[in-house]
């Protein structure tokens, strides 16, 4: 399988994006912005449509528009502080409506749009690979250098701001990085499934990891394993790579949560077995105590 040039590129692109997108997912999840990836992918689609309409490379315009959308959501989020998911809905509708209008205006590009909607990792070109590498490197640098303030901001923005952390700047930077990673991940799983690559590994890791650092590392491990397994399965079964990767990640999540539940139930049943003995002993003591007290009262 790996002797094919396109498969080498697919594994390379998938690996790069799986690592950085899974790390990003942990932060998005903890900041209650899980839908942001979905929203930005739809905004990015408008950029792709605009690029195709204006005859500019759609990958570049998609990249730029995703970054603009990410900055915009940061400001709309402030306007709807209590209902922050509204900002996601507003910008997603904006992105999707613009892309539909542009697609209708330029009917010749409709066919190539399926690769943006469902992904085509095996058809990743050199420019897309370079953009992925750039996004991953900038993202990795951002997450490494700012890992400590990001941890504090993820827990609580207000106390972070009070303690002197420049929350505003870091949040804007975070949004830009999110936009870049989402746009870079689009060729792999497509607009419709891009959030699966970002959110599913994180959703499992935050449930099983014992610490914050391990949550990020576990998420990266799940993302990488899921992507490589998905690509292999896709090659062997001749299924679409984007959908296969997303499905494998979903299987990982469901099975991971099931195993965790079984372990929890097993440990609960073990502790339950211990408890009745104590409870029975206690009830006997109290019963005896009560009966002896009652006997004393009766005697009186």
């Amino acid at each position: 399988m790996l002797h094919y040039d396109f498969m080498q590129r697919a594994f390379c692109a998938g690996g790069i994006i799986a690592l950085i997108a899974s790390a990003l997912g942990v932060y998005l999840l903890l900041r209650r912005q899980a839908l942001m990836a979905d929203m930005l992918s739809h905004v990015s689609l408008a950029g792709v449509a605009a690029g195709a309409y204006l005859r500019i490379n759609p990958s570049i315009t998609g990249f730029i528009v995703a970054i603009i959308g990410a900055i915009a959501v940061e400001y709309v989020r402030k306007a709807y502080k209590t209902y922050s998911e509204l900002s996601v809905a507003i910008i997603m509708v904006g992105g999707l409506s613009v892309s539909i209008i542009l697609m209708t205006m330029n009917k010749t590009i409709n066919k190539s749009f399926s690769s943006y909607l469902f992904g085509s990792v095996v058809a990743v070109n050199q420019l897309e690979l370079t953009m992925m590498l750039a996004a991953a490197l900038i993202g990795a640098l951002f997450f490494f250098l700012l890992r400590k303030p990001l941890y504090i901001i993820s827990f609580d923005e207000e106390s972070a701001r009070t303690s002197g952390i420049p929350v505003q700047w870091i949040s804007v930077g975070f949004s830009i990085i999110t936009g870049m990673i989402v746009a870079a991940a689009m060729p792999i799983v497509g607009v419709l499934l891009v959030s699966s690559l970002i959110i599913l590994p994180a959703a499992l890791s935050v449930r099983i990891a014992p610490s914050f650092t391990s949550a990020i590392l576990v998420s990266m491990g799940i993302g990488l394993t899921g992507t490589f397994t998905g690509l292999t399965a896709s090659y062997e079964l001749s299924t679409p790579p984007g959908g296969t990767i997303a499905f494998i990640l979903l299987l990982f999540l469901v099975s991971g949560l099931c195993v965790r539940k079984i372990i929890l139930l097993a440990s609960k049943s073990t502790s339950k077995k211990m408890r009745p003995e104590i409870a029975v002993k206690e009830s006997r003591i109290s019963k005896n105590g009560l009966s002896s007290n009652l006997q004393k009262i009766r005697q009186r």
Partner: protein, 239 residues
Amino acid sequence: MLLASLQDVTFGYGDVPCLEKANIEVHSGELIAVTGPNGASKSTLLKLAMQLLHPWEGKVTLSPTNTAGNKLVVAYVPQQIAAFNSGFPSQVTEFVRSGLHTQSSNWLRRLTPQAKQAADEAMQSMGVWELRNRRIGELSGGQKQRICIARALAMSPDLFILDEPTTGMDKESRKSFYTLMREQIDRHGKTVLIVTHNLSEMNDMLDRMITLERREEGGWKCCTTTLCSGHFAPAESLH
């Protein structure tokens, strides 16, 4: 030294003001309680003092420096913060130590043994040392609240701003917490602004009390600052 002040501050949500012409002053070395009924804008008052909210009218001042002339460090423990983040994937030690990374100069540095010791002492003083390797999500509400305070202690701030920090704590824990806060002021010159409903338990510890009351004429609330002679006077006499 004046650390924070609100001068004739009016603030509200939407079109309705909830605080009108509020005046408070927070001086260094004071233990000040903010009290009032539910919905009296106690948390809003704290957020205004920290400049997390901007007033409609009036002036809010927060000193940029402490008494030694260094940058003022503020530790804020919001109301039931830990309860909202029950699934946060973090160990107690990791969480408490994060309080030491608030300054940008510490973002890339490894913690010194002294800093780690400060975090350990904060955990010990809040009685959460045994929980140091546990995940936050596994802890009870009271334990979560205590680790949030331990993180604030580890920061060694000049000003503690605590919004009902003893929620979920038992009576003994509350009592030792108030004593600890008093010690922070008397021994280390810290300042504490605390929202509480347990005034009777803070007996002999308070320096001043800010009461939020409903105004008779318009139904809006206003602030009244009561100087406690020596320390706290019985709550009944202040109303």
